[in-house]
Each structure stands twice: as structure tokens, then as C-alpha cells.
């Protein structure tokens, strides 16, 4: 369970998040929707622990423990996962090396033996096949020369391998055609579990037809202005963010 309490965040001295309260409960899929500039990506980066985002007030707690002092790698090993809106290309680092380093870092942290390259490759290929990723993609360098859809599938592959307890997906639908959207959504739905909380951040309702959330929160100007069930997405689709913003004002 991830609890976000009265979270205030500044970037370069500018207040972006102005008091967010949000609970991601185990077994639930939550969605955050909101217009551009509402603070959606900032929220995802703060959860993951990226530099440059200063928490001036409030807290983020994972299973009751504050994570604010934890480094990004510690948060990852504690069970947090952020699928990036724009996954980073790293030419020169092989995809397999990257995946193996990540999985083994988690295994060492849990006191387990590292996987040898052969059994690791087997594991990755099996998971990749479910996401319709070819062996050829796995032979490339991290996200290098991947299409938008391939990058997103690679993110889901990482999530599947690391088996996090909290999954945050930032604009996972952006840049996906309908087939890729379906494959990625299936990958996320397969991760649904009573011991896992999933947060889907999106601008559009489209993704929520594939990954049906239990709760929807609408973020605007750094605050949650509305929370509700899955029908809230349809309301938004009909009236747009503007109608909602007017109501809130």
C-alpha cells in the first residue's frame, strides 16, 4: 500500500504539487487523469525519487514507512516501479545486461542468488513472448531504435520481471497504436493481484477502456479536485476537463 499525504512539491522553486492526498490500496487499480501541466508526471517522478523534485511538506509512505529519504534504487528494491512516459535510450548498454543487472540487484537485496546468464535469458524470453517482443529486440541496446510501442512494451517487460508491489504507469498509452495498446494493457492486467497496487496516469480515457480502474482521481493545478469510480472517466470524456475545472472553481 502506498499512502501519499498532504504532498507539496517544488521544482526550481515553483510549487507544482499543492497538497495531494492519495492512497493506493493493494488489489486496486487507481487512475489519475488530468490536463497537461496538472502535475501528473511530477507526481510519478516524486514517487520514484528523481533528483530535482523537492518535497516541502507531506509524506509518501510505503507500507507505513516513509520513502522520502530513499534513493531511487532503494525504492525500486522496496517494490516501487515507475513505467516512464518517455523511456530513456541508452546506446552501448545491452538490453539483456540492463535487465539482468536490475533483476539481480533485486535478488541480492532479497538475499537470493544471482541468476546465471543462461537461466536469466530463458526467463526473459518467456516473459517477452507474452508481450509479443522478439528475441531480436532483446538483443538490441536499451530502448535504442525502438518504436514508441516497443519502448512501452519493454517497460512492461521490466515491470513483469521485477514484480513490484506498487506499479506507477505514466502516460503508458501515449504513442501507442490500437494493437500495441491492447498488448500493453493485457500485460498490465496480468499484473493485477490482491498484493499489488497499480496507478495508471493518463490524459485520455481511452486507456481506461482496456485497464479498467477501481478508482479515478482527477488532478488539476497540483491538487486532486475530484475522485470517483470508473464512471468518472466517461463523464470526463463527455464534458472534458474544462467542465470539471469550472465545477471545482
Amino acid at each position: 500500500m502506498l499512502e501519499i499525504k498532504d504532498l507539496h512539491v517544488e521544482v526550481d522553486g515553483r510549487m507544482i504539487l499543492k497538497g495531494i492526498d492519495l492512497t493506493l490500496a493493494d488489489g486496486e487499480v487507481s487512475a489519475i487523469m488530468g490536463p497537461n501541466g496538472s502535475g501528473k508526471s511530477t507526481l510519478s517522478y516524486v514517487i520514484a525519487g528523481r533528483d530535482g523534485y523537492e518535497v516541502t511538506q507531506g509524506d509518501i509512505r510505503l507500507n507505513g514507512e516513509s520513502i522520502l529519504e530513499m534513493e531511487p534504487e532503494e525504492r525500486s528494491r522496496a517494490g516501487l516501479f515507475l513505467a516512464l512516459q518517455y523511456p530513456i535510450e541508452i546506446p552501448g548498454v545491452a538490453m539483456m545486461t540492463f535487465l539482468r543487472e536490475a533483476v539481480n540487484a533485486h535478488r541480492i537485496d532479497r538475499g537470493e542468488d544471482e541468476l546465471d546468464p543462461l537461466s536469466f535469458a530463458k526467463l526473459v524470453r518467456a516473459k517477452a513472448r507474452e508481450l509479443k517482443m522478439t528475441d531480436e529486440m532483446l538483443k538490441r541496446q536499451v530502448n535504442s531504435g525502438f518504436s514508441g510501442g516497443e519502448k512501452k512494451r519493454a517497460e512492461i517487460l521490466q515491470m513483469t520481471l521485477l514484480e513490484p508491489s506498487i506499479c506507477v504507469l505514466d502516460e503508458t498509452d501515449s504513442g501507442l497504436d490500437i494493437d500495441a495498446l491492447r498488448i500493453v494493457s493485457e500485460g498490465v492486467n496480468a499484473m493485477r493481484s490482491p498484493t499489488r497496487a497499480i496507478l495508471v496516469i493518463t490524459h485520455y480515457q481511452r486507456l481506461l477502456n482496456h485497464i479498467v480502474p477501481d478508482r479515478i482521481h482527477v488532478l488539476a493545478d497540483g491538487r486532486v479536485i475530484r475522485s470517483g469510480g470508473k464512471n468518472l472517466a466517461h463523464e470526463l470524456e463527455e464534458h472534458g476537463y474544462e467542465g470539471l475545472l469550472d465545477d471545482a472553481a
Binding site: A48, G49, R50, D51, E71, P72, E73, R75, S76, R77, L82, L84, P87, I88, I90, P91, G92, V93, T97, F98, E101, A102, A105, H106, D109, Q141, Q158, L162
Partner: protein, 456 residues
Amino acid sequence: MATADLVTPFIDRYHAARTAGLPGEDLPWLEQLRADGIARLKTLGLPTRRVEEWKFTDIRKLAAADFQPAPAIDGALHPDLAYVLAEETADVTAVLVFVNGRFRADLSRTDGLPAGVTLGPLSTALAKGDPAVATHFGRVLPDVERIAASGFLGLSTAMASEGAVLCVPDGVTVDGVIAAVFLSDNPGENPVITHPRLLSVIGANAEATVVETHAGRDGAGPTLTNFASELAVGDGARYHHYRLIRDGARGYHLANSHVRVGRDAHTDTFVLTLTGALTRSEVNARLIGCGGDLRVSGGYVGDGRRHIDNTSLIDHAVPDCRSRQVFKGVLDDASRGVFQGKIIVRRDAQRTDGYQLNRALLLTRKAEIDSKPELEIYADDVKCSHGATAGEIDNDALFYLRARGIPERTARRLLVEAFLAEVLEEIGAEPVRERFTALAAQRLNAHAQPVLEEAA
């Protein structure tokens, strides 16, 4: 100290060497070259920072040291050097080994080469009156003083006594790697100097791959290798020549390579500088036949106070040639990198395709890269481009790796390795590329060797 005063001790040592006797003294052509060399040293002096090509590499302190001829080491090698030698000679077709500038037949192996290929020490080639040596030694680019002046090269030619000579006849392919290993050791504290040479004469449509390694050990006293090599690549030949610098913490290395590329010949050169206090690798290359293709590239790792200088000049003298220079290095601590790359495209060299790239990854604020790309183009139908960047580790990439649970230290290592791995792709011969990549990764993992103040 004035330059003239720095030169005098070297000239004195030359006369001492003459008294003791140098190989090939009965060869008039060599006597002439030696006389020209010492005259050039007297005229040019040793380079100071006022000389354009030496603007970023100050060797005044180094040149002022009282260099004695390196002692002969005939017996067992120091274990550190034996270890390096074993690494360098695994899986090679043939190997020549020189220790402190002297040929070690007991450590060398030249059987198993195709008929007609000669590989052996310079002293033997001179004693036999090898015609290829008489034609090419000191003459691969005979007029080169016009483009790069250095007293060190004159000194090398004057003092020349030993080195590696490879001659591959027309149409012959040598499979695998030929290794030329130059080891330096100094059991004492007084600085010692050697002047080894290398000559490769590759016949028309021939093919060969050479790995030239210079290695020392960290516990040794100061050593200076004043190295000169000449590569003459015949028409239609395919030649791969890779340099590997594994000097000790007090190893100084000044190299001058002359490269001549014939018609439709493909020449691929690379220098990987891993260790040593100061390394300057200077390449002067000329494309003399249409359709020639030349690569002059390199990678390096700097830490402590190490200084790595890669200076190259590629002279497009004829039309329809291609050249490519890619240099990338990682600079940590207070290390310093220098890149000077010049491309000359002469009036007749139409349809030249020249490419030049220099990139440095600076890991600290004290690390420094000086980059000077130059294009001198006299023809009008050419394609030449160059680029230079210096940067730090990409924070987005670092965050991405860490966000997946990878420790920061490992993440940084992966990114630095990736940066170097890119430039190692320039190496054409796959087994060498793989070995150099592994060595670079190993080097990045090793703790920085302490380098003494004198390296500055």
C-alpha cells in the same frame, strides 16, 4: 631552461651510442638518415608549447630529466610484465617481443606464417640488407617534416637500433593477429629511455592484422618510450593496425606513426590508451592512391593526473578517398585529454569524404579535454564533417538505471563502459575489438593507479 640545453644531453647520448656502435653502420642510406635525424633534432629542438602541435602537451619537465639508456633485461621478466605478456600473446599467429628496446628471441615466435612473409627484428633485417627495409625505413613519408615537426622523430631515427619489421608480399593474407609487444622496465629510480621502431610493409592486395602493445609495470622507475612506426599499405591491401598502451604509472610514451595508403587500400588503425603517466600518439597519414579508405581512431581512459594526447593529420592528396577519425575517452579525477585532428584536402583531391568526431566524458570538474579539430580544404567537391563534444554522465540515463534497482556505482560503470564501447566499434577486426572492449571494461573496474606529481 632553454630548448637548446634540453637537446644537448640527447645529442651527447647519440654520440655515446655511436661510439658503442649502432646496427647497420655499413649502410650508407641509413647513415644518411641518421645524420638527417640528428640535424633535424638540432634544428627543431624538442617541442615546446609554442609549437602549434604541442600546444596542450607540455613535455619540458619530462625532457629535462636525465634519461639514461634503458638497461638490458635478459633473464626472467618481472611477474607483472610476464602476466601482461601472457595476455598479449594468447591466441596470436606470431609474436615479436622487445624488452627495453632489445629483441627477445626466447619470448618471440614467428613460425607458422605464410611463405614469403617476413617478421623479425630490425637489427636482423639491417644485417641481412633486407631490400624492403632499405626502401621503406625512414621513408614512408619522407617529406613529413613539412607537416609535423618534432625533434623526437629525428632523435628516433638517429638512435634507431631495434624494432619490429613485417613484410607481407603481394596477394598474401596472414590469418589471425601478429603481435608486437614492447615491454619497459626500470628497476631503479633514474629515468630510462628507449627508441623502438616498427615498420609494416604490406604488399598489393595483401592482408594482415597487427596488435602493437606497449606495457610497463606500476612499481618501475620512470621510463620514456620514444616510439616511431611506419606503415606502408600497398594498392588494394587490407591492413588493420591496433595500438594498445598499458604503461606503468611512471611510463611515458611519445609515438609518431607515419601511414601511407595506396590505391583502393583499406587501412584501419586504432589506439586504446589504458594506462601510463603521459601518452602522446601522433599519426601522420597520407592517402596517395584513388579509392583509399583510412580509419584513424582511438579510445582512452584517464584518471589520477594522467595525460593522453591524440594528435592526427590526414592528408588527402588524391581524389576519391575516404577517411574517418573517431576519438572518445573517459576522463576522471584531474586527468587531461587532448585531441588535435586535422584533415587536409588538396586541390586535386576531389570527392573526398572525410569524417571526424571527438567526444569526451568528463567525470569530475577537474578533468579537462582540449579539442582542436581542423579542416584545410583546397578542393571544391568534397564532403567533410567534424564534431566535438565534452559532457558529463547523462542524468536521465542514470536515473532510469537506478529506478530499476541498479546501484548508482554499477549504473555509472555501465554508462561509462557504454560510452567507450561505442568507439571500440570502430575496430574492424572482431577478435581484437572484443579483446580491447574487455580490457577497457576491466580497466574501468580497476581502482585508479596513483600517478605521481611528475606526470603533470
